[in-house]
Structures are given as structure tokens and as C-alpha cells.
């Protein structure tokens, strides 16, 4: 559905994206993560057809996106900083969208008024930040898009509204096979709703995988011995990270669950626990692997 092939984008001397490729299937929810300045927003703006790629292909439905009205008509992009016309009320914005998007559904717009519950004659610019975001989702979902591109979408929404918006998005994915790509720093939240995850770092894609495969590939091991921890274990394990507290060691190891268990059992530990990592932990260790670590600097 969404295909990006070896895309490069440069702003002046700044290389924002370098040979980034990605693919998102129809009806999938793809989570894009990365540290600040990694190029997430640039990538999303390329997907929305706002930027033109310097090199490479950005395609939705096997068609290039840039300046392609047919594709843009079925795509909704909710950017990080929202834009509404001056002095426009919610109703005015709705009329404007209805006039330019063929797929606008008045019925949906009315249904959603029960969820969002903001008076239609309020001027959008006078609303709070969180309410403006609600309006963006309200209008966006009424366009019945095939593709939703969301940049930090849940920022500023209250917990109830976050849940409502997530539910609305998931319903559209389940019922109409809408495709969604989301960037966020809230990894807990991405973990709940995404099926694929891509990690960007300094303009390059570090990993992208099925979320469950990503988790199945890396494990946290808690291992304890009644005596000393065997030296060979720490050397042989090839751990990405290890910590030792007395006779208990915590290792972060890549590999398949069964093989790790077998390898560890060979040392006859007193306790052996293998836990899956949370997305947040995976992110931190993947980034550590790429030289972006949590620094232990104390001021």
C-alpha cells in the first residue's frame, strides 16, 4: 500500500534522510520511532506529498505521491503543528473540506459530533490545543481516508480522548482496512496499537519489523547462581548489555528463546528467567547499539 524506496532528502547542507526504504501493507498500523531530529517528520511529509524527494520513490497504491491529487484525496495527514484558517468555525472548516474532498461523509461528521462534542460554531483558533487536535481528527476521519499519516497524533489529548481516538482509528482499520502510519515518542501507546515498527536514526532506518518479531528477537535474562557467576557466561553470552547485582546478573541478549534457555541452562543456574522486552527497552538498547546512549552525566 505504502512503499518508500531509497529516498533521500536534503535541506541545504543537512541530510535529513538517507536511503530510507519502507513498506506498509494495507490495513496495517505502522509505528515510526526515533530520537529527536531523526527525520520522522520529514519522512511523513514526503509520504503526504508535501516534500518532493531528492532521490528515490514515495508511492501510495503504486503511484508517486508528489503532486498527485487522486492519492492526496484519499490521504489524511495530521501534522505536529496544526493549521486552520483564521476566523473559521468548525462548521466552516467542514464546509471547506466537503467542497474539495469527494469522499467527505456528512453522515460520519454528524456521528462523530457525539464523540467530540464541541459546538460547531466555535472558532477553531480560539479552542485549546487539545481541542484543536480533536477537531483535526474529527475532520480527518470524516474524509473516510484510505491512508492516515499521523505525526505525534495523541499529544495534548486527555486520557479519555486518547482512548476514543485510538478506538476510532482501530475501527476504521478493522472495518475499511484503512492504513495508518504514526510517529510518536510514546512507545507504550504505539505498542498497543501498532503491528509494525520502524526505528529511524540520523536519517537512516535502523530496523523495521513486525512488532512481535522484534520482541521475539531480543530478551531480558535474569540469571542467578548459588555461588559465583561463571566468568564464561558473561564472555560467551554476547550480551548487548549486562548488569550485575551480587550473584544475580541481568543480560540483554539477541536470539531465539529456546536457544537462549538451552545455552543458559548449561551453566546450571539457580534461577533463570527470560522476559520479553518492552518496546521502550528495545528502543533504548537498539539506540545504544548505534551509539546513542543514555548518558550517566550528573550535574
Amino acid at each position: 500500500m505504502i512503499e518508500v524506496e531509497r529516498v533521500n532528502k536534503q535541506f541545504g547542507r543537512l541530510k535529513a534522510l538517507h536511503d530510507v526504504s519502507l513498506a506498509v501493507h494495507k490495513g496495517s498500523i505502522y509505528g515510526l520511532v526515533g530520537c529527536n531530529g531523526a527525520g520522522k517528520t520529514t519522512l511523513l511529509k514526503l509520504l503526504a506529498g508535501i516534500y518532493k524527494p531528492d532521490r528515490g520513490l514515495v508511492m501510495i497504491d503504486a503511484q508517486p505521491v508528489f503532486e498527485n491529487e487522486a492519492i492526496k484525496e484519499q490521504t489524511v495527514f495530521i501534522p505536529d503543528s496544526l493549521y486552520f484558517f483564521h476566523n473559521y468555525s468548525i462548521q466552516d472548516m467542514a464546509n471547506f473540506y466537503a467542497s474539495i474532498y469527494a469522499k467527505w461523509s456528512q453522515e460520519r461528521f454528524q456521528q462523530l459530533s457525539q464523540v467530540f462534542n464541541i459546538e460547531l460554531n466555535r472558532r477553531v483558533k480560539t479552542l485549546s490545543r487539545g481541542m484543536q487536535r480533536q477537531v483535526a481528527f474529527w475532520l480527518g476521519l470524516s474524509l473516510m481516508p484510505e491512508v492516515m499519516i499521523l505525526d505525534e497524533p495523541l499529544d495534548g489529548l486527555d486520557p479519555v480522548m486518547r482512548q476514543n481516538v485510538k478506538r476510532l482509528i482501530i475501527q476504521d482499520v478493522a472495518e475499511r482496512e484503512m492504513t495508518v502510519i504514526i510517529s510518536s515518542h510514546n512507545l507504550r501507546e504505539l505498542e498497543d496499537i501498532c503491528d509494525h515498527i520502524g526505528i529511524l536514526h540520523q536519517g537512516q532506518m535502523v530496523t523495521q519489523k513486525d512488532l512481535d518479531d522484534l520482541k521475539a528477537d531480543i530478551h531480558k535474562i535474569q540469571i542467578a547462581f548459588s555461588g559465583e557467576i561463571p566468568r564464561a557466561l558473561l564472555e560467551e553470552s554476547g550480551a548487548l548489555h549486562h548488569e550485575q547485582r551480587g550473584s544475580v546478573a541481568i543480560l540483554i541478549v539477541r536470539g531465539v528463546y529456546d536457544q537462549i534457555i538451552n545455552r543458559m541452562q548449561a551453566y546450571q543456574p539457580a534461577i533463570l528467567d527470560v522476559l520479553p522486552l518492552t518496546l521502550e527497552e528495545i528502543f533504548i538498547y537498539e539506540m545504544g547499539d548505534n551509539g546513542y546512549e543514555i548518558s550517566n552525566i550528573l550535574y
Binding site: G27, S28, I29, Q163, K166, R167, I170, Q171, V173, A174, E175, E191, D192, I193, C194, D195, L211, D212, K215, A216, L275, P276, L277, T278
Partner: protein, 129 residues
């Protein structure tokens, strides 16, 4: 019907599969009963429909449910099959519980009689109160 712990480290599809197995084993979900559709369940739980599909595929693979094209997924009536992997896993859990009980000083006789009691209850089908 299904409560999931989204804070748990376990993948959501595994949790969901385990929940459903539990309900099948306890006979809450009866043989040939239809499971909720992926669409309905994803709306109810606010979970990605692909994740639910994955759980259903896993359950089908493990022989707990079957699916009829265009109709949905149903509970498969239990029959003997190869469950060795699952059984090994359960044995490991049992050994953890047993070693803790031994450590706490529960005498051998009491352990055995406890197990026998539990066994006769489980074989009896339902738990008498």
C-alpha cells in the same frame, strides 16, 4: 469477555491466545461455539485487528479453534493430538511450584495427597464447592 493486561511484557496476541485457551479449558467457551469476530473484538479491546488475527491463527495452529471461510472462528472439540511442547512447558511450571513447596517444608505425603485430591477434582470435570 477478555481482559488483557496491556502493561504486561507479554505480547498481546499471546495473552489473548492464552485467555481464550483458558476459557476453552474451563468449558466457558463450548465446543463449536463461535468466537467473536476480529472486527468486533478489536473494537471492544481497542487492539489492532492484525494482532487479533494473529492470536486466532496461533490458536488454529495449536488446534484449539477452527475457522470456516466467511463464517468465522469456532472452538474445536477436543481430541488427542501432539501437545508435547505445551506439556513440557506446563511441567516446568509445575516443577517451579513443587520446588517452592518443598523449600517451605511441606512434607512429601501432604504433597502427594494434595496432588491426588486435585487430580480427582480435575478428572471429575467440575469443581465441587
Amino acid at each position: 469477555m477478555f481482559e488483557l493486561d496491556l502493561r504486561s511484557r507479554k505480547p498481546v496476541y499471546e495473552q489473548l491466545a492464552e485467555k481464550i485457551i483458558e476459557l476453552i479449558v474451563c468449558n466457558v467457551l463450548k465446543p463449536d461455539q463461535q468466537l467473536p469476530s476480529v472486527r468486533v473484538l478489536s473494537g471492544e479491546l481497542t487492539i489492532n485487528p492484525n494482532t487479533i488475527q494473529k492470536a486466532y491463527r496461533e490458536l488454529e495452529h495449536r488446534g484449539y479453534i477452527y475457522s470456516l471461510p466467511g463464517k468465522g472462528s469456532f472452538v474445536r472439540p477436543r481430541e488427542a493430538g501432539d501437545n508435547s511442547a505445551r506439556i513440557n512447558n506446563l511441567k516446568a511450571q509445575l516443577s517451579k511450584v513443587l520446588s517452592e513447596m518443598v523449600y517451605l517444608g511441606v512434607p512429601r505425603d501432604e504433597l502427594i495427597s494434595t496432588i491426588e485430591n486435585l487430580l480427582s477434582r480435575a478428572e471429575g470435570g467440575n469443581i465441587d464447592d
